[in-house]
């Protein structure tokens, strides 16, 4: 079944500006809610299951909406080849640059995550032990501290330097 869907998607890739753009686009539309949930979930212990669920669903829906809006235009279907009517909502959605749209999904996901969480009951505290920044125990901290030494720090510094060099080299 997945292969059939994959086959059906191939004309979209053909119609896109290139495989790379297509990949970046799809990942940009589907990843933001996941990032929001994982990132904020660690740093804010107040976030609860309902907020997480609604953020995931809303973010995913936004991403799929954009994909569905884009597809007929990419395929050049009858009546869609020239895009949507200028000024309409679908036209706007279709024409936002995909990275801005990713950002939009991320912001909306964060808003929903925080809004819904604070509107509903806080999570059960013992469930979060060791899973958020605020609920890490002293024992956990010691464990983590014991797990790294100067070697790891040096290696990370080296990697950072290499990244910096790469950025400098390719900045021209």
């Amino acid at each position: 079944m997945m292969v059939v869907v994959g086959l059906a998607v191939d004309p979209v890739i053909q119609g896109a500006r290139g495989l790379y753009d297509y990949l970046q686009g799809v990942q940009g539309y589907l990843a933001p809610p996941i990032f929001a949930v994982f990132f904020l979930g660690v740093f804010m212990k107040r976030l609860n299951a309902k907020g997480c669920l609604s953020a995931l669903v809303v973010g995913f829906a936004l991403g799929v909406f954009r994909l569905m809006v884009d597809t007929p235009v990419t395929l050049g279907l009858e009546g869609y080849a020239g895009g949507y009517q200028e000024g309409s909502l679908l036209w706007i959605v279709n024409n936002i640059y995909f990275q801005y749209y990713s950002l939009l999904i991320f912001i909306v996901s964060c808003a929903v995550l925080i809004g819904v969480s604070y509107a509903t009951e806080p999570p059960h505290e013992p469930q979060l032990t060791g899973l958020t920044y605020a609920t890490v125990t002293e024992e956990h901290r010691r464990e983590s501290r014991a797990s790294w030494s100067i070697n790891e720090v040096a290696a990370s510094g080296l990697v950072l330097l290499m990244i910096l060099a790469a950025y400098v080299y390719f900045s021209g």
Binding site: M2, V3, L7, V26, C52
Partner: protein, 342 residues
């Protein structure tokens, strides 16, 4: 749009900041972490999102890549189902084709799209295509066997703005043959490519005069001791700068095994397709095999030459009357050419 490698610092953040939480939660997958941090429902939703993303970004792209490979390796492969032409890209992934035959015609539809991108390394392409279209080698043999000057009819330029020298540059190499019907006294026609190298169509073997070898030289006047030295064989040659005279276009052992085999089956005397001359065999006969400095350009040059050869095949395919022995080809066929190309 620097991707992944240049974002390695994200990985460092993951390792230094987030990994401890993931380690403590003792989970193996991302959805599992959501289950422990939030709820089983969140785990389910993330799993479904991941599945969708996987289909869209991994499976679909994998199949697409397979189609690209097919379109590259077998550009001429196509299926006719009813009125729909299925080109090699979609044959490769078993799907219906987008029909761009309106612009290019079925023959060009298969090669119009994707395969032009990797002509540098993909030397097996034409050989592989021969497996599926053995008749092609016969046509090559016929072309090599000496097309008469007027066998090649003028093509009308679809894109007047395009330079005629675009052979080898990509899609529409055929236009470069517009001028080939003008007969020249030397029995060759040339079209220059975008890189200023000429593609020469030699209609029948060309020889030049040279002094006889010392052993055969008599004592008379020098002009009586000339011998014929094969200069260029009939066929289509990419002009190699630097050794333009000695066996230009003689690709010898580089000609695909299959091509040679088909050509031999088709009764081509040289036993080689692609306009490879008997001349080289003639010249090399009785001479110890040695490494020829300069040699035949392989790789990209060879491919470009074969590409033009295929253009000539196209002429023979649809645009030319069969060259019956002794019959005079039609003088002008622009009308019929136009009708055939619709």
């Amino acid at each position: 749009m620097a991707h992944y490698e240049l974002h390695a610092w994200c990985l460092l953040v993951l390792g230094w900041v987030f990994a401890p939480f993931y380690m403590r939660s003792r989970v193996f997958t991302m959805p599992e972490f959501l289950e422990r941090r939030f709820s089983p429902a969140a785990r389910w939703v993330l799993s479904i999102i991941s599945l969708v993303a996987y289909v869209l970004t991994k499976i679909a792209v994998g199949i697409f890549a397979g189609g690209v490979v097919f379109a590259t390796l077998l550009p001429e492969l196509q299926l006719q189902v009813g009125r729909t032409t299925i080109n090699s890209f979609w044959v490769g992934i078993g799907h219906r084709a987008a029909a761009d035959r309106r612009l290019h015609g079925p023959w060009r539809a298969a090669r119009g799209g994707l395969h032009g991108r990797c002509r540098r390394w993909c030397s097996c392409r034409l050989d592989a295509a021969d497996v599926l279209r053995p008749a092609r080698a016969r046509r090559v043999g016929r072309a090599a066997g000496g097309a008469r000057p007027r066998d090649v009819q003028p093509l009308e330029a679809d894109h007047p703005g395009r330079r005629a020298g675009d052979v080898g540059a990509g899609e529409r190499a055929g236009r470069a043959w517009r001028g080939t019907s003008t007969a020249t006294t030397r029995g060759r026609h040339a079209a220059s490519r975008a890189d200023h190298r000429a593609v020469v169509l030699v209609h029948r073997p060309v020889h030049r005069a040279a002094r006889a070898r010392r052993a055969q030289r008599g004592r008379g006047a020098p002009r009586h001791d000339l011998r014929r030295v094969p200069q260029a064989a009939a066929g289509l040659h990419l002009h190699h700068p630097g050794h333009d005279r000695a066996g230009a276009g003689a690709d010898g052992p580089r000609a695909g095994l299959l091509e040679r085999w088909w050509a031999r089956r088709a009764g081509h005397p040289a036993g080689r397709a692609g306009g490879v001359p008997a001349a080289r065999a003639e010249r090399d006969a009785g001479r110890p095999a040695r490494h020829r400095r300069g040699g035949t350009a392989g790789g990209a040059h060879e491919l470009a030459r074969r590409r033009v050869q295929r253009e000539l095949d196209a002429l023979h395919d649809g645009l030319l009357p069969e060259a019956a022995p002794g019959a005079r080809p039609r003088s002008s066929s622009s009308g019929s050419v136009a009708s055939r190309r619709r």
